[in-house]
Structure formats: C-alpha cells, structure tokens
Symmetry: C2
Subunit: 477 residues, 2 copies
C-alpha cells in the first residue's frame, strides 16, 4: 500500500479497486500524448522508484522511451534497474550511445551484471565498450564468475574502514564516500591485502561514544560467502544470520564484494519456482508464463512428456503380458485405473515432501533409513485405509446392484490388497528416488511427480495382476 501526499492528481486516488500503478501509467501516457513534457518531468521526480519503473514498464515502447529520457539523470539509473528485462533491452536499443553509457555507468554493479548476462553476446560487447575503462573492468570481472554463482549476484561497492580509526573518523569517511556504496547498513573492516577481518553493523557505530576505536567494536567473528559458491548457499546464510548484506570473499579471504538481501529474495523465489516446475514435470521455464514463446513451451514440456510416454509404453508391455488375464476377467480392467492412480498419487505425495525437505536441508542423505521407516509406516497405514474403502465400495455395489458377478468378494479382496500394495510401494519409491538421485549427484527435483507416477504405474500393474492371479485363479482366472 503506497502512501502519497494529498495531491490533486488522480494517481494519488487510493480508493478501493484503483490500481495506483495503472493510474500513474495512464497519467504518464496522457501527458505524453498532450506533449506536456515539463509537467511530466516534474511528475517523474516524485514517487517510489519501483512504482515509477513499473508504471513506465506498462507504457508502450514509444512512450517508454519518451518517459525515460525525461527522468533526471540521477533517478534514471535507479529506475532503469527496476525495469523489466524487455524494457531495458528495448531502451538500450533506442537510447543514444551517450545516454546508454550514462545509465550503465551509474547502475549498481550487480543489476548491471544481471542485465548483461541476459543480453545476446553481440549487444553485451557493444555495451561494454560504452563503459569507462574502470567500469568495464569491473563489469567484465563480474561476468567472469560462473553462472548462478555468488559472484554474479555481488557488487563491489561497499564501505571499508580500518581498525585504528575512531567511530567519528569512520562516520566522516562514510559521509564522504558513502554515496557510492550499495549499502551503509554494514561496514567492512579489512586488513593487509584486503583480507576481510570483520563486519560491523551500522548500529554498532551509532550507539557508542564517537571516540571509540573501531578495534574495540570488533569481535572478529563474521559470516562470509565464497565468490564461486552457488547462489543457493547465499539464501541459506541470509536466512540463518538475519543480515541485510553479507560480504563475499575469494579463496584467500580477500573481500571482493557484497551481496544485499534484496537479491537473495529474488534468488529464493527463482529457486522455488524452478523446484515447483520440475516437480510438476516441466523443465524450468526461466521466464514468466505469459512471456514464454509457444514453441519454447512446447519444447520444455514436450521433452518430459515424451520421456514419460516412453515410460508409459512400458505399461502397455505390462498390460500385454497379462492380456489373457484381462480377457478372462474384464472386471479386473475396471479397477485398474483406480489402483494405479492411487499408487501414483501416493508416490507424488512422497516425492514432493522428500524433495522439498532435501532442498530445505530438513532431510539429509544420511537420514535415508529414517525416511524409509516413516514411509513404510505411513504407506502401510494409508494403504490399509484406501484398501478398506476400495473393498467396501465393491461390496456395496455388488450387494446393491448385483455388479461384478458371483465372485465379488474375491474381487474386493484383490482390489483391497492391491491398493495396500501400490500405495505402500508408491510411498517407498516416491521417497527413496529423490534420495537415490541425490546420492548419484543428480538434482533430486528431477524425480518429478509424473515420473514417480509412471514408475508406480508400471510396477502397479504387475503388483495388481500378480495378486489377482494369486487370489482369483480357479475362479475368474
């Protein structure tokens, strides 16, 4: 909920149902159409950066370019950082080289890295050449880190202080140089060679006598990220230590940059989205759903669907193997989808729970035996519940409607025992497959729900017909 000062402009109207961003966007469009550029310039000076950026994002390409050029230079890069990638790409095409260079120079190093790594190679090279020598060196260095590494998330703009300074001297230093720093919530104490020695939260400097030495505030205990680690580790560390920024060091402990918590919120959401999509049996989309080109969508979904289809062809093999039993007792076919679906559902549940628990570190590989015991117990209980319900359903239909012939009690028994079997098997395989994949060094989320369901389908058919043969030979079979 955005608070804006009382203001005659309709953009400030905060009535129920009015989307303030849409209102602002409409207002900008109107001013552009009326060519009231002075009014527009003034309007763009106020408001939260993120809101102005989103309002500009909603304009069409032509309006976007006009509005952006009217931003004050200082605000321009901040707004640019918050634009969608599409808008950024488009603006970089239409801005003059000088304007594009100005925006890129001012951008936070980490946001610039994110932009440059998404652009096509040729565009990236062209843009790098627009930067000053110093900024280009920084940009290139950051791009040199592995994709999805902490190096790509960090920015080299932070404030360093020396242990021998007083707090007053440190704050004076901050006053002079603080504007260039990504954050002033944390300051970093470095030693010879730039090795990180300690971090200090700004509150430690603000709540003591200004003549206190920095040394006296240090406890030499700090948490640092490693520049080559995967960005996922950053999420875990931020969650444990309640910080708004964490330092990044290289292999020798030299401070090379910092990661701020806003980037981590984005990483956490991205990671969750990837996990969700993989569990659902889709290769991670990497873009908002409505923006993914149809053919890309078909490729990413088709890959898995085809793999699963081949898995499904094994069910046809299994069914063909039991063709005679099917021919003799068509009543078995009637309950087959029910049984294998129950196994698949149970497997999906288990796979989902274990994969998520692995991702959150709640379950480790060494816990596999505990997991198996729990799934044996749960699977058995769940199977019993479903088996009883399934058998009851057959009994009711047989008694009420005379369905399923004279051997219906045996059919009910077959279905009941099969349900216990497939649900138990589904729980076990659904929980152990992610662990096995992780053990083999693969991503446990590859054990998607549909994949488990396919495995349980094939084995469920075998379980069902084996039990049916045991119980019904001599009668229906």
């Amino acid at each position: 909920m955005i608070q804006t000062p009382p203001d005659p402009s309709p953009a400030a109207a905060d009535g129920a149902g009015i989307d303030p961003i849409a209102a602002l966007s409409d207002e900008l469009a109107r001013q552009i159409a009326a060519r009231r550029f002075d009014v527009l310039k003034r309007r763009l000076r106020t408001g939260e950066i993120a809101d102005v950026a989103e309002a500009i994002d909603r304009l069409n390409d032509e309006q976007e370019a006009i509005a952006f050029r009217l931003l004050d230079r200082e605000r321009a890069s901040e707004v640019f950082e918050h634009l969608s990638f599409d808008a950024q790409e488009h603006l970089l095409h239409t801005l003059s080289d000088a304007d594009a260079a100005a925006v890129l120079e001012e951008m936070s190093a980490d946001d610039r890295t994110a932009l440059l790594e998404e652009l096509p190679g040729k565009v990236t090279v062209r843009l790098l050449n627009l930067l000053s020598v110093e900024e280009r060196a920084r940009a290139v260095q950051l791009l040199g880190y592995p994709e999805d590494s902490i190096g790509r998330l960090m920015t080299p703009d932070y404030v360093r202080v020396k242990p021998g300074w007083t707090v007053a001297q440190a704050l004076a230093h901050v006053r002079l140089y603080g504007d260039d720093s990504e954050t002033l919530n944390v300051l970093y104490v470095t030693g010879p060679g730039g090795v990180l020695v300690d971090d200090l939260r700004i509150r430690q400097l603000l709540t003591v006598d200004p003549e206190t030495r920095i040394e006296a505030l240090m406890d030499r205990v700090f948490v640092a990220l490693n520049v080559n680690d995967d960005e996922e580790t950053a999420v875990a560390q931020f969650r444990r230590h309640d910080r708004s920024a964490l330092p990044v060091v290289d292999g020798s402990g030299v401070l090379v940059g910092i990661v701020t918590v806003d980037d981590v919120l984005d990483v956490q959401e991205r990671e969750a989205t990837e996990d969700i999509q993989m569990l659902g049996g889709v290769q991670a989309l990497d873009d908002p759903y409505l923006q993914v080109p149809i053919l890309t969508m078909v490729r990413k979904r088709g890959t898995w669907l085809v793999i699963l289809l081949f898995g499904g062809m094994l069910t046809a093999e299994a069914m063909a193997f039991y063709e005679d039993e099917l021919a003799s007792a068509v009543v078995l076919a009637i309950f087959l989808p029910l049984i294998i679906a129950s196994g698949g559902n149970s497997g999906s549940q288990a796979a989902t729970l274990i994969t998520r628990a692995l991702a959150l570190g709640e379950v480790k590989l060494s816990d596999w035996w505990r997991v198996m015991r729990r799934e044996l117990a749960s699977g058995l209980l769940l199977g019993l519940v479903l088996g009883l319900l399934g058998s009851a359903r057959i009994a009711v239909w047989a008694v009420a409607f005379g369905a399923y012939g004279e051997h219906w009690p045996l059919v009910a028994l077959t279905v009941g025992v099969s349900l216990v079997g497939v649900v138990l098997w589904g729980s076990l395989s659904g929980s152990l497959l992610p662990l096995l994949l992780k053990r083999l060094g693969a991503d446990p989320a590859t054990s998607s729900a549909p994949f488990i369901a396919t495995i349980v389908d094939v084995t469920g058919i075998i379980i069902f017909f084996t039990i049916a043969t045991l119980i019904l030979s001599g009668t229906l079979l």
Copy 2:
C-alpha cells in the same frame, strides 16, 4: 562459510568435510561432561549467534539446559530467538520462572509472538504472566492480530525522529535509544498522533552535513504495510522496493510497528513450501518432514488420498460403462493406462505452471483468455507429437512382432487420436481449473497435480472409448 579466528580449539578447524556446527556441538558436549563450566562460559561468548544456537539445538535436552544457563544474559535472548521451537519449548519448561521471564522480556517482539502463538494456550498464558506489565501489553496486542497477518510479523521497536530535528540531533537520539530498536537501517518520521509521515534510510543521514534538518531529507513518499494484511503481501512489497525494513500502519495511518527483511525471507520460504506440498497433493505439513508425527502425516496425506480415491472410483464407473467394448477388444485395455497417464502428465504440467504463475502475480484472472489460447496451441502441438509417437510405436510392434491383430492400423489411429485428445484436454483443464478456483475465491493451489490427473483420468477414459467406438465399430467393436 564461517570464519573464526585462528584458535587451537577443533571447532575452528575448517577442513574439507568438517561441519563446524557439529564440531562446536561436540565440543560443548565434551565440556559439559567434563564439567568445565568456566571454559564453556567463555566459549559461548564467541561465535555467531545463529551458529551457537544451532550447536546448542543439537545437544540433548539435559545438555541444552546446562549450556543455555551458562550464556551471558545479553546473548541469552538472542540465542534463544534462533533456537528451534522444540528447544525453546523445552527450555521454557526447565528454566526457573525468573530466568524464563528474563529471556522473554529481552526477546524481539516479533520472535516472541512467533513463539507464543505456537505454544499450547495454557503455557502461553503462564508465560505472559511472567512478563512485565508493559511487555505483556505489547505481547498481547501483537497476538491479537489475525494469524498469518503482518501484525504477527512485526515488532514495535523502531526509532522515531521529528522533522524539526537536525541530523546531528537525530544521531544523538539514536545513540541514546538505538539499542532497543530492532533495526537502525531505517528511521521513521512521525507526525501528530503518531501518523507515519516518511521513512529515511540511515544512509540519507550519514552522507549529509550533520546540520541538515530532517525535513530537508524528507520526500514524503514511502511504502507502508497494513497491519491486517496477509503476510504474503509483505513478501511482494519487499521484493519490489529493495528495503531491509518496512513500516506497518493501521487503518488511520498511525505507525504501529516494523517488519524486517529476515522475517520476510522466512515467510517466502514457508509460502513456497506450502504451495509445493499442495501441488503435490498433500495438505501443508507446517513442520519439517522428520518431525511430523506419523499419525499427523497419515491424516494430512490420507485426506487427499481418500478424496482422490473417490474420484478414482469414477474411473471404475466409466470403465464399467464401456465393459462391453473392453471385452470385445482387449487390445484397447492394453493402451488405456498409457493414454490416461499422458493426459494426467500434461494436466500436471499445466496446473503447476499456472498455479505458480498466479502465486507470483505473473498471471491475473483477467488473463484467462490468453492462457486458454496458449494452452490450446501447446496442447494441440504436444498432443500431435505424442500421438504420432504412440501410433508409431504400435505400427513398429505390429510390423516387427505381428502384435495387435489385423486391424492394427485402426488401433494405431485410435490410440494416436486419443493421445491428441487427452493431452489437449489435460492442458486445458489443468490450466483453467486453478483460474476457476481463484475466481470462486478458493486457493488455486488446491488444484493439485493428482487432482487434475484424476479429472483427466475419468474424462480420458470417456474420450478414449468414444474415439475407439467411432473408429473401430464394425471391426474390433
């Protein structure tokens, strides 16, 4: 990666494969066994709070209580905030009333709210009575907010400054009162009646002449959360505005507390876990997997499995309806699991993508027509790919192994067309059901993958046999 000063204690050994927390935990256990309490007291004074807390968490109940009592009072509440809920609950049982009161008084208000809302009612009442009058009033007020609301996440500890002050005066105020504030990264400017007027990031005060008036720094534009909103809205706002804390106001715009970003990281993860579990067809577990009691697990999973079983019984009805066709053409039964599984897989994919897109705001209800067009296109293309592969499979088996009898081309056609039908139908229903649920005011994540799969199973059977009847009557049927 934790950096600790060079130190003879094995807990500092940072070799490959050594878990520093486990090492610390073992060290604590050893000191407790050897009754070296002085050494232990000193050891507990160093190290990151989160790490000490986790090490203590790994001790058994008795060791936990001993270690905790040896913590310096100041550190004790901070460590307590980071303990797992189980450890917190256990310690509150074993600590004397005086010690428990001391810890609770010092805790951050939001962490205390989180603890009290989890405890059984009687325990909560007992603990509230241990608090001072003032803290009890604050605790009760926070607990008075709706569950999962922003009121439950916030803390009333922040620094307020007045517009008429100079920066120097504001920093002097911070020096005196800042220790009690949850964060000093943001300061809040309030007007008459405590109404929030502006927020100032600490960097704005640190980078200007100390004689500047607060007023001059204000732009009167800020983002505030509403105390009764759902905690999910906090996640969205933090992600948009790159802040480490956001103010919370009530209906009249009066500042009532702040939410810090560490809580939001937790909320984001919790929300993602809930969505993942619901998509997988499980009621949200709310606790780490290994800590959920077996019977609770069975209840939460069983509820959905039973519902899906009843849905599955509809497949039995559908199959019974086509019993004659099944009896005449057993070859149809062979491909049935394959076909309905493909439909279910396609539906799972679509449901997963749309549900996540809805949760992230990438897709809105008004986008339903765009979604449907995309799913029609994707579903058709995917169905064609699968249909061709499925038919090809039958053709190859028929030609190579003489399977499926003389009418195999018609069988292949039936299976191929059915695959197109169920995949298309799966994509459409999988994507539209979450939208429909949201339209009806329900949680779209209820349209779990297994639920969609069940719907597509039933309708897939009907589609399959209808197509079979059309193509194969007169031959196999």
